[in-house]
């Protein structure tokens, strides 16, 4: 089991009252499986992704990521866990603008002190079809190309699980489809699990499992 979630609840304070963002969320995911989290805006999708990836802490409930009790870890330990086991693809790509595509892809691998980070980065850039653009800066790349660099970065760091928050949300339909195909293609070559938050039903349909959230609860 790569991901096990039990009775997850997230509340936030709003003045004197408490707002429940997620309630009683329970599910699990096996190694190599993919999961789509869907639902309308404000349903708690991104909050759930943040909790699963160790970016935020739940009010109650349990999350086991690769058998590590994420809910018991402090921020420093969660950062270490993210470094070792988690890859990210963000809606807004989040590439460092002053680094080249190659440097951006190398960054998480270098942080993990992996062997030959440059070779790994070059391999994944080639895999996403950007070998010729490795020395280009993000502002010299189109949105679709930037997201492909972000995908290469997520895979280059040998993560166990990859989280993608609306990976096609900022792209036109053609580029969106190309990026989503690429995400599954490259993921198929690894035994990574993949968790995608998306509004895109086509993208969600490509996943092994789906969770539909409404007002913070799983409805299907």
């Amino acid at each position: 089991m790569i991901l096990e979630v039990n009775k997850l609840r997230k509340e936030v304070s709003s003045g004197d009252s408490k707002l429940v963002i997620l309630d009683d969320v329970t599910f699990n995911l096996l190694e190599g499986q993919s999961l789509a989290i869907t639902g309308p805006s404000g349903s708690g999708k991104s909050t759930l992704l943040g909790l699963l990836a160790g970016l935020d802490t739940a009010t109650s409930g349990e999350i086991y990521l690769n058998r590590d009790a994420l809910h018991e870890l402090d921020e420093e330990q969660r950062a270490l866990l993210r470094k070792e086991k988690v890859g990210f693809v963000f809606q807004s790509f989040e590439l460092l603008p002053s680094l080249t595509a190659l440097e951006n892809v190398m960054l998480p691998s270098e942080l993990k002190a992996e062997d030959e980070p440059e070779e790994r980065a070059k391999y994944f850039l080639d895999r996403v079809g950007l070998k010729e653009r490795e020395h280009h800066y993000p502002n010299q790349l189109s949105g679709g190309e930037q997201q492909r660099v972000a995908i290469a970065r997520a895979f280059a760091c040998s993560a166990k699980i990859l989280f993608a928050d609306e990976p096609t949300g900022n792209l036109d339909p053609k580029n969106g489809e190309m990026v989503s195909d690429l995400l599954f293609e490259v993921n198929a070559e690894t035994d990574n699990a993949l968790v995608i938050v998306t509004h895109d039903h086509d993208l969600a349909d490509k996943c092994d499992k789906k969770i539909n959230l409404k007002l913070g609860k799983i409805v299907e």
């Binding site: 950062a79 960054l107 942080l111």
Partner: protein, 382 residues
């Protein structure tokens, strides 16, 4: 390498802003280096080493006059070869802005300044002509004076008996063979002392030529001992120290310079702090992404501090380098006020220390706020 990539990314993000910030810091450190060199000169102890001329002034204040009788007693001190004297004349040539130092001096005054080369016949004419005046070559050129010209000086400190304007005859010029200083005027003591309204027979200070510069400190002490507990106690020092005393009539120069430098660094502190805060605000999603991929809070704090260090240290080094290159020109301008000033290694060390402190103070708050960023909130800032 991995950490430098992130720091480099932050620095290169807004190249113009980085350049402007480094430029501002460099300007502050240029002022710091030049100002410190003068402040150090003003605040340093009197160094007697290598001085073969001493200046004797009143212990009360260097503007107080001394009795002429001191001359013979000073001359009797072992190791003293010549004693001459002078008095600050003040006065105005036509307009107040035409300022230059004017000193009534005895005939043999120039003997103690072998580096001054008098024009042909100047010494003899000065001895012979009671209203004679010798001026620096630059000064003569500045006002277009020629030998034989009559120079009127309006009195302020020293009115003439019977009133009226002082008039002197230009009998020669001097050039200085070891420095560019040739902007003073010397008038005949006999004329001045006889014609002035008061304080006849009292010079302002004595210049003492000694035989062995190694004995400067001990001779200075001996001269001051001679007049201890008298009505006219003395303070004997070097020409450099006298120049400093003269300049400090307007206040404590060292303190003034240090205060200006402190104010400029306070401004730089705010500027750098603001730049760093702005950089952190603009990069909030980026910093969130870095945290998401596994960089810890401590990493993020260090990246921001490293940027602050880069800006401050780069600015400091550039400023100090420019100051070093400009120093020969600057020391030439400042030498008349502070005496010999030096560009010492201590200036570089203190500049780096100040840069270090500036970087820490200006970077610590932005670094702390970057460290405390919530990843989810940071990523939502897009």
């Amino acid at each position: 390498m991995k950490y430098w990539m992130i720091v480099k990314s932050g620095i290169n993000r807004k190249k113009i802003r980085t350049f402007m910030t480094v430029f501002s810091i460099a300007t502050a450190f240029l002022l710091f280096s030049l100002g410190r060199s003068v402040a150090v000169a003003f605040n340093s102890e009197v160094d007697f080493a290598g001085n073969d001329r001493l200046i004797v002034v009143s212990r009360l204040a260097f503007t107080e006059s001394l009795p002429m009788a001191h001359k013979n007693r000073i001359e009797a001190v072992e190791g003293v070869s010549t004693v001459v004297w002078r008095q600050w004349f003040g006065g105005t040539y036509k307009e107040r802005q035409n300022f230059f130092p004017k000193w009534p001096v005895p005939d043999n005054y120039f003997d103690v300044y072998p580096e001054w080369e008098l024009s042909e016949g100047a010494q003899e004419a000065f001895s012979r002509n009671i209203t004679g005046m010798i001026v620096g070559k630059d000064l003569a050129d500045q006002f277009g004076w020629e030998i034989g010209d009559r120079i009127p000086i309006i009195a302020d400190i020293w009115p003439k008996k019977g009133g009226g304007v002082w008039e002197f005859d230009l009998v020669g010029t001097y050039t200085n063979s070891i420095s560019e200083e040739q902007g003073e005027a010397f008038i005949n003591w006999k004329y001045f002392d006889e014609a002035r309204l008061y304080e006849t027979g009292r010079p302002g200070n004595y210049i003492v030529k000694i035989e062995n510069p190694d004995q400067a400190e001990s001779i200075a002490k001996e001269i001051d001992e001679l007049f201890k507990n008298s009505l006219d106690e003395t303070k004997t020092s070097t020409e450099e120290a006298f120049s400093r005393m003269f300049a400090e009539q307007i206040g404590n120069i060292g303190l003034i310079i240090n205060s200006v430098l402190a104010a400029s660094f306070f401004t730089i502190l705010l500027l750098t702090g603001n730049t760093m805060s702005q950089a952190v605000r603009e990069r909030t999603p980026e910093l969130g992404a870095l945290k998401a991929v596994g960089f810890t809070d401590r990493h993020i704090m260090l990246f921001v501090l490293a940027e602050s260090f880069f800006l401050c240290i780069a600015g400091a080094l550039i400023g100090v380098l420019i100051a070093y290159l400009l120093f020969p020109l600057f020391s030439g301008l400042a030498i008349g006020f502070s005496g010999e000033i030096e560009f010492s290694i201590s200036i570089l060390i203190s500049a780096i220390l100040v840069a270090f402190i500036t970087a820490v103070i200006s970077g610590v708050l932005p670094a702390y706020s970057a460290m405390r960023l919530n990843v989810v909130d940071a990523l939502r800032k897009n």
